[in-house]
Each structure stands twice: as structure tokens, then as C-alpha cells.
């Protein structure tokens, strides 16, 4: 049995869809952030996979993943700072409770 590209892509797709589901259903902002990380990771893996399977002599995909990880770290740090700030002012991390920006 050959482990072709599709064998890897299906788990990552499932992972991505879990991220989508979690992002939409969860109320806790940190849980939403966790879902976001899932999606991001699924995409990261795909970069590396395509690089490895289609152009093994190059390193673009790998480096793209590398930078994506760095940016994800930055994003998470800022997001958590914001969440903590919100929590401090409204004692709540429920995303549905924070709708001051509606019309």
C-alpha cells in the first residue's frame, strides 16, 4: 500500500472542518481561539505536504509553514491579551455577550 497525498489530506481536512465547527459553535473566546489554531494547523500541514510530495527539491512550503507558525504565535499572544482585557472589564469571556458593536 502506498501512502499517497490524499491519505494525508483527508485527516487534515477533517481537522479543518472541526476547526470550522468549533469556531462557530463555541462561546468561550479561548475555545474559539483553540478552533482557530486547529484550522491554522491543518493549513500548515497542507503546505508542508504539498511541498514534500510535489516539489521535494524545494523548501518553499516548509518555510511558509515556519513563518505561519511564527505569525500564529504572534496572533495568539495578541488575541489572548485582548481576551484578558475584555475579561477584566466585563468579567466574562462569552463571545455572544460582547455585542456592543452591533448597529
Amino acid at each position: 500500500m502506498e501512502i499517497t497525498l490524499i491519505y494525508w489530506l483527508v485527516p487534515t481536512l477533517v481537522m479543518f472542518c472541526c476547526g470550522v465547527y468549533g469556531f462557530i459553535t463555541r462561546k468561550n473566546m479561548i475555545a474559539i481561539l483553540i478552533s482557530l489554531e486547529l484550522m491554522l494547523n491543518a493549513v500548515d500541514i497542507n503546505f508542508a505536504l504539498f511541498n514534500r510530495y510535489l516539489h521535494p527539491e524545494m523548501m518553499e512550503g516548509m518555510f511558509f509553514t515556519l513563518f505561519a507558525i511564527a505569525i500564529a504565535a504572534a496572533e495568539t499572544a495578541v488575541a489572548i491579551a485582548i481576551i484578558l482585557n475584555i475579561f477584566r472589564s466585563v468579567k466574562n469571556v462569552d463571545v455572544q455577550g460582547i455585542d456592543q458593536m452591533k448597529f
Binding site: 500500500m1 501512502i3 499517497t4 497525498l5 490524499i6 489530506l9 483527508v10 485527516p11 481536512l13 477533517v14 481537522m15 479543518f16 472542518c17 472541526c18 470550522v20 465547527y21 468549533g22 469556531f23 462557530i24 459553535t25 463555541r26 462561546k27 468561550n28 479561548i30 475555545a31 483553540i34 478552533s35 489554531e37 486547529l38 494547523n41 500541514i45 508542508a48 514534500r52 510530495y53 521535494p56 527539491e57 523548501m59 516548509m62 518555510f63 509553514t65 515556519l66 513563518f67 507558525i69 511564527a70 505569525i71 500564529a72 504565535a73 504572534a74 495568539t76 499572544a77 495578541v78 489572548i80 491579551a81 485582548i82 481576551i83 484578558l84 482585557n85 477584566r88 469571556v93 462569552d94
Partner: protein, 170 residues
Amino acid sequence: MDSVGSIILYVVIALVMIACSVLAVTTRKILRAATYLLFTLFAAAALYFMLGYEFLGAVQIAVYAGGIVVLFVFAILLTSKPGDKAEKLTSKSHTLGMVAALAMLCVAGYGLVKQVISATAMPQMAEQTMAEVGETLMGTGHAQYLLPFEAVSVLLLACIIGGVVIARKR
């Protein structure tokens, strides 16, 4: 034809990845969700090692598992009161989430089936040396990444300052 070892490895990684990500979004305790995320990240790191990207796998573990998940755990501990039960999902948001996820699955799955089903096995790749990775990251020539590297470092600096400014007590 892959070796039996690699097939077993594949099955383990794929199963952990799927199971842990599903659990991460369905578990009702937020701290557990973070833990499942950690396992998913480990699975991804294992995948990177399997592909031959050892450096990437190391970064994945160091940054994601070592940095981000710890950050999550701290945030969770800071924001949840003891004895907090995770929220119950309303059926409406549950339906919406399912619709979105399934739609995503269908569209992307259709694309995969149509396009990538016939892709070949993993080709051979010369082993990456650390020197090679380092030169690519720090070089200024074609397909070398000094400029993005510097840009990311500036971004990280900005993010450090931003994080401090946003989260500090006033």
C-alpha cells in the same frame, strides 16, 4: 510500497489527529480542549518528522506545544472561575456549526476527489541538513528568506509590545 512500520505510523498519526481535533471542539471542559489541541499539535509534529522536515517538527513542538498551548492554559486559568462548567451548546448554533463544517467538507472533499486522488507516492528527498535550512533562512539570494525572516521578527516585537500594552492593568 511503504514499509509496514510507516503504514502503522500513518494510521496512528491520522487517528490521533482526527480524534483529538474532534474532541478538542466537542469537549465541554475548556482545559481539556487545550489538552486535545496539544495532542493534535504533537501529531502534526510527528507528521513533519515523517516527511523529513525535522527542523519544522522541532519548531512545531517548541512554539506551538511549548509556547502557544502554555499561553492558552494560562489564559484559561485566568479567565475561568473554579467549578465553572462549560457552556451547553444551543441546538441552533450546533446546527449552524454542523452546516458550515459539512459544507466545507463537501466542497473541499469534492475538490480533493476530483483533483488529488491520483497523486503519486511520496518521492525521494535528499536529507535536509541544518546548514541548508539555515542558509535558506538567512540568505538573500533566490528562494532564500532573510527579508521575511526580518519582517516576522519585527512583527513579533510589535506583538510583544502590543500584548503588553493591551493586557497591562490600568
